[in-house]
């Protein structure tokens, strides 16, 4: 008890210095948490991906499509339970900055396979009935203020022209990490328009999403599908939905790695600040430590005093920093709109924040504690700080 109160009193001796150090810690822990959360957001789609789903695309690259006629052939492959398809639309809503994914889908089969997108039955019926209808996610609706019945115009980049849609429903996610920043409309509409304007581009889909009976057979079913179309005009490549999503992350892997490294840089910066605080503190109190030793306290006691003070500061900083991470992540999420599918502070992020704070607390105290523990009483008493 005596020890604890001594540590606390020591920490409060230089109020301004402790306060500044604490502020620095809070900023660093908060920044670290935010960066981890943003990095995590990139992986959100692959984490939400089911391993009972496969994605079949053109083997050349995603920029090429596959014929709609493949649907029946894939459905016949053993182990395939259900199939749907989608086309990446890549349209622009008002300004290129307003990025969100848009897909042309077959409503019934798509929402049958993606059970995490919850749409009220009435809205679903209205959507299916209206060929110019569309469905938007909750986050998307919140960001741009879409309401059921609204008219939305998209400027096509891959499929030229202005496209008019009527919002027929807003879907919610079954889980918090479900991507509710997407925009869906009828593949039929896209295809009919292509038939009229660019007949050569009609009757193609971007990807097939295949639901399989047994996730363990993913590799075999993938091979089975690709085998049928080998040496055909449109060879396919089938992989699990997770691998497909990770493929996108790996494209910007260099940037993701750089951002992750940055999150450790901020910890090192704050380590330098904290170590400086502890070094100055210990230097100023060297004569006190010598006095304690002269009174019979052992070097370990002195070291414990310094470690205690450092860890106390680090702990308080961590608690405040972590507490602030949650509202900050929400604010950042609102700021970036629909750029990221979800923005959730993961448990592992909090664990990492705690660990970093502890490491900073321990490392910052190491050198001063060693010095104070080893100082000769005579030298220490002579020291004037």
């Amino acid at each position: 008890m005596f020890f604890l109160s001594m540590i606390l009193r020591n920490a409060l001796r230089h109020k301004l210095r402790s306060l500044l150090t604490l502020l620095g810690l809070v900023v660093a822990i908060l920044a670290f948490g935010l960066i981890s959360t943003v990095v995590g957001a990139w992986y959100a789609n692959s984490e939400a991906a089911s391993n009972a789903r496969l994605v079949t695309r053109n083997a050349i690259s995603l920029a090429f499509s596959v014929p709609i006629s493949y649907q029946q052939k894939i459905r016949a492959v053993e182990g395939v339970k259900d199939i749907t398809y989608a086309n990446w639309f890549g349209g622009v809503y008002k300004d290129p900055k307003n990025f969100f994914p848009q897909f042309a889908i077959d409503p019934e089969s798509y929402l049958r396979i993606y059970r995490d997108y919850l749409l009220p039955p009435d809205d679903l019926r209205n959507f299916i009935r209206d060929r110019k209808g569309c469905v938007v996610g909750r986050r998307l609706a919140d960001t741009y203020g879409f309401k059921v019945g609204d008219q939305v115009t998209m400027k096509g980049t891959i499929f030229p022209g202005d496209w008019e849609f009527t919002v027929r429903g807003i879907y919610d996610g079954r889980e918090p990490k479900t991507d509710t920043a997407q925009f869906f409309f009828h593949w039929e509409l896209l295809n009919e328009t292509m038939k009229q304007k660019f007949p050569r581009r009609a009757n193609y889909v971007g990807v097939y999403v295949v639901e399989i009976t047994n996730p363990d057979e993913a590799a075999a079913v993938s091979q089975g599908i690709d085998q049928i179309f080998k040496n055909s005009a449109w060879e396919t490549l089938t992989e699990t939905e997770q691998a497909f999503q990770l493929g996108f992350v790996s494209m910007i892997e260099a940037i993701v790695v750089a951002i992750r490294l940055m999150s450790y840089v901020v910890i090192v910066i704050i380590l330098a600040v904290m170590a400086n605080t502890m070094a100055m503190t210990a230097r100023e109190r060297l004569s006190e430590y010598a006095t304690l030793k002269a009174l019979g306290f052992r070097p370990a006691h002195v070291a414990a005093l310094i470690f205690g003070e450092s860890l106390t500061l680090a702990a308080i900083g961590a608690v405040i920093g972590i507490a602030l991470t949650f509202p900050a992540a929400r604010g950042f999420s609102a700021l970036t709109g629909t750029l990221f599918p979800t923005m959730q502070v993961a448990d592992t992020t909090v664990v990492r924040q705690v660990v970093s704070a502890l490491v900073v607390g321990v490392l910052a105290a190491a050198l001063p504690a060693w010095r104070a523990a080893h100082v000769k009483i005579v030298d220490g008493l002579r020291s004037i700080g």
């Binding site: 301004l16 210095r17 500044l20 150090t21 502020l23 620095g24 900023v27 660093a28 920044a31 960066i35 083997a59 050349i60 690259s61 995603l62 920029a63 090429f64 890549g90 290129p96 400027k155 096509g156 980049t157 891959i158 030229p160 050569r200 040496n231 005009a233 060879e235 490549l237 990770l246 493929g247 790996s250 494209m251 910007i252 892997e253 260099a254 940037i255 750089a258 951002i259 940055m262 840089v265 901020v266 090192v268 910066i269 704050i270 330098a272 600040v273 170590a275 400086n276 605080t277 070094a279 100055m280 050198l367 700080g385």
Partner: protein, 388 residues
């Protein structure tokens, strides 16, 4: 009367550990700041260097990249017949109809795919880009299944080296040459014969038309005219401008993200400087009293402490910049958001970045040192002399 600069300088030396830790924190912030600017500069330089001022790229209106663009043969021929197109030997138009598509290749020593641009072109297309040199092997023969790969592609992708083969579009393509395009965007591309590639990809349309202007000044009139030509649904840009535009999204992403992080990180470093300077002022209370008693004015004391903070920041800035300059040896390769294809570029240092980084460091020093210096200047002579 001013307090000599030597006073501030010596004070930094007196507490080496503190100086080292504080300057170290600042150095890291400056490192991040400079590295981000260097990355952005590298990206822009790579893409700007890709184009030539005299060349014009024609794409479909509204297409953000060549990959998205489509131009049918009739329109391509209409463009070819325009008077602005330079004529080469034998009266042949200095014009290349190109087919640009993405193919998915696997990186060496991994299983992760990445999108690579494959450009179907012609001997004229090669002639239009004089910066492109074959460094190994030879050029592909027109009408064959031969391809040449950019230096960055040959190094990083499985099957893209000289003598190896890539399989796509139902055919094997032999790599007969590796080219260096002077660290431009073309280094991240694969080139082959346009007609052969289009056949394999089952496309009958081109992606873009590139030509050399007969008169470099005639561009504006040309661009204007084809926009109003009812037979055409295309737009024209100078090649330099076209590639500079390709850097837009990624560049904005890198600079926004990097600068936000730098500013947040700098808060930590500024707090570090503030703590150090407050301690310096507190430890030297008697000294400050003595200085004032000797006749130094308040502002002189303030300047002395500000100078100390700025010196500290300068040390951090120089060290951080020094560390960052080593980044020039690294090449980063990532997907360009605009074209959706892999692009390799290096960190590039230029005088502007050096200046901005050092100013950023000084700003941190100024902000961190201002309040402590103010406190030093406001001290009462008698009280501070008594403090000892």
């Amino acid at each position: 009367m001013k307090v000599p600069l030597l006073y501030s300088y010596r004070n930094l030396w007196a507490r080496k550990l503190t100086t080292l830790l504080t300057a170290g924190g600042m150095a890291l912030v400056v490192f991040v700041f400079a590295a981000v600017l260097m990355l952005d500069a590298g990206l822009k330089k790579t893409l700007v260097d890709t184009g030539s001022y005299d060349n014009v790229v024609v794409t479909r209106r509204g297409a953000e990249s060549e990959v998205q663009s489509v131009i049918d043969r009739v329109q391509a021929n209409t463009v070819e017949a325009q008077p602005e197109v330079a004529l080469g030997p034998g009266g042949r138009a200095q014009l290349s109809k190109e087919s640009v598509v993405l193919i998915s290749l696997i990186k060496r020593g991994g299983d992760k795919p990445a999108n690579v641009i494959i450009r179907g072109t012609s001997p004229t297309g090669l002639a239009l880009r004089p910066q492109l040199r074959i460094v190994a092997g030879r050029v592909f023969r027109p009408g064959s299944n031969e391809i040449i790969t950019g230096r960055a592609v040959a190094d990083r992708f499985a099957g893209a080296g000289l003598g190896e083969a890539l399989r796509f579009g139902g055919r094997d393509w032999v790599v007969v040459g590796v080219f260096d395009a002077g660290r431009s965007g073309f280094d991240s591309e694969v080139w082959g014969d346009a007609e052969q590639l289009m056949q394999s990809f089952r496309r009958s349309i081109f992606s873009s038309v590139v030509f050399k202007l007969a008169d470099p000044q005639a561009f504006d009139a040309f661009a204007e005219r084809i926009l109003t030509d009812p037979r055409l649904t295309v737009e024209a840009k100078r090649e330099t401008r076209f590639y500079a535009d390709q850097s837009g999204k990624l560049s904005a992403f890198i600079s926004y993200l990097g600068l936000t992080l730098s500013v947040i990180f700098s808060i930590g470093a500024m707090i570090g400087a503030m703590i150090t300077m407050y301690a310096a002022v507190a430890n030297r209370t008697a000294e400050i009293g003595a200085l004032r008693a000797l006749g130094f004015q308040r502002y002189a004391v303030m300047l002395a402490f500000l100078a100390e903070a700025l010196l500290l920041a300068m040390v951090g800035g120089v060290v951080g910049l020094g560390l960052a300059s080593f980044m020039q040896f690294f090449t980063i390769s990532t997907v360009n958001f605009q074209s959706f294809a892999e692009l390799a570029f290096s960190f590039t240092l230029n005088p502007g970045i050096v200046l901005r980084s050092l100013l950023f460091a000084l700003l941190m020093g100024l902000v961190g040192g201002f309040l402590p210096a103010l406190r030093a200047a406001r001290m009462n002579i008698v009280d501070s002399l008594r403090a000892a």
